[in-house]
């Protein structure tokens, strides 16, 4: 049994946390680890390649849980740099996925960021087809952004998602429903609440959580 993951998102700009007085990513991430995070998702803003390896290395040496980096990667060599610096996983825009040579890095280490757009005609089948295509490209999952309509639709029935899905969701009540219906983890803005508090709000969902 795999625990449903609770993953705080940290925005990084110029090698520092964008939303916490410019703190070092390693310090904030380590605090979140001790507060119960299962993983950290760093989202890099702006052009950060020059500074990236340095702060990723610092995080890798300080953190004892996995972390992922979502960034405007320009190609496979940038992915290689980020993974070699210690990111356990890189998140690339779904539209660029075919250009990233994902099989070179192994199935689990490259995932796609995409937005689920639900249409009455296509429903979840259309979204699932998109996820299947990612699997065929050698990607190991997706970070899915979904609006209220999509989440309502997801929660209305159990969806057989083909690859591990981390769902961006800031609402613990909706998150609990989505986890119970097929999502594998929740990514939420780190400044919203601590991971332990988020997990406490999921307690009634009947899903496995790491304590």
């Amino acid at each position: 049994m795999v625990a449903k993951r609770v993953v705080p998102i940290l925005q990084v700009r110029d090698g520092r946390i964008a939303t916490a007085d410019g703190a070092a990513p390693s310090e904030v991430a380590r605090r979140l680890e001790l507060e119960g995070a299962d993983e950290i998702l760093f989202v890099e803003q702006g052009a950060g390649r020059a500074l990236r390896s340095a702060w990723l290395t610092e995080v890798a040496r300080a953190l004892f849980i996995p972390f992922a980096l979502e960034a405007p990667f320009q190609g496979p060599e940038e992915l290689a740099e980020a993974l070699a610096a210690g990111a356990g996983r890189v998140v690339v825009p779904a539209r660029d996925a075919a250009l990233m040579d994902a099989p070179r890095f192994g199935r689990a280490r490259v995932v796609a960021a995409l937005e689920a757009v639900w249409s009455a005609a296509g429903g979840w089948d259309e979204i699932l087809d998109g996820l299947m295509e990612l699997g065929q490209l050698g990607l190991g999952g997706a970070v899915l952004a979904a609006g209220a309509t999509e989440l309502d639709s997801l929660c209305a029935r159990t969806v057989r998602l083909p690859v591990p899905i981390l769902l961006r969701c800031a609402d613990p009540a909706l998150a609990a429903e989505a986890l119970a219906h097929g999502a594998d983890g929740i990514a939420y803005p780190a400044d919203l609440m601590t991971p332990a508090e988020f997990k406490a709000r999921l307690a009634g969902a009947g899903v496995p959580l790491r304590r």
């Binding site: 625990a3 004892f64 356990g88 591990p164």
Partner: protein, 208 residues
């Protein structure tokens, strides 16, 4: 002193951070000639099996590692490193492993999402006098293939089927989960495994 085998673009930073936190001395070596004169050799791995085999061959490890192990040198394989220590992997049907741990690595599934990427619980299959009973401790896994458990396997986890989480065969140890990414329990287990391989930290360090 611990030697971290550096091959391909394997990320060693996280493991180095864990060893520093625990107080162990370590160095990286790109070729066998750069290894410390004694102490465990750690083979950490992530990514495709075949590319890792090629990188180990390029560095000369492929031929020297079995010889070092035969001479009594402890070897610890982590993640893909366990697969490389086994006899072979379905991930690369024509390829073979280093053969330090018996068994063939096979695909997980069917019927489960792959990769198995996240935290799963580990339980003890066979007790070992120097290792703690995990008692369903959560550890972090990131893989699509795994060694099948046998009666010699110490600890197992489950994803679609039971698979080996920890093997200890003489001086060869294989760990499917990543202890360096498994929080405080992972650090405790890493320190205990290294103690089993007669490696001690510089000073006793608290784990949190």
């Amino acid at each position: 002193m611990i030697t971290l085998i550096q091959y391909g673009d394997q990320p060693l930073n996280t493991l180095e951070g864990a060893l520093d936190h625990l107080g162990f001395d370590h160095r990286r070596a790109v070729a066998p000639g750069g290894a410390a004169p004694d102490g465990p050799l750690i083979l950490l791995g992530a990514g495709p099996f075949e590319a890792a085999c090629a990188a180990l061959k390029a560095g000369g490890w492929w031929w020297d590692l079995p010889q070092l192990a035969a001479a009594g040198r402890p070897v610890l394989g982590i993640g893909l490193g366990l697969h490389l220590l086994a006899e072979g992997s379905e991930e690369s049907p024509r390829g073979t492993g280093l053969g330090l741990i018996p068994g063939i690595v096979r695909s997980l599934g069917p019927g489960v999402k792959l990769p198995h990427d996240g935290w799963s619980q580990v339980r003890q299959l066979r007790a070992h006098p120097r290792l703690p009973d995990p008692r369903d401790a959560w550890m972090y896994f990131q893989h699509s293939h795994a060694l099948e458990a046998t009666s010699e396997t110490l600890q197992v986890a489950h994803h679609g089927r039971p698979f080996s989480a920890l093997e200890l065969r003489g001086q060869a140890v294989g760990l499917q989960a990543h202890p360096e990414k498994s929080g405080s329990y992972g650090l405790v287990l890493l320190a205990k495994l290294l103690a089993c391989l007669d490696e001690q930290p510089r000073a006793r360090v608290g784990v949190n």
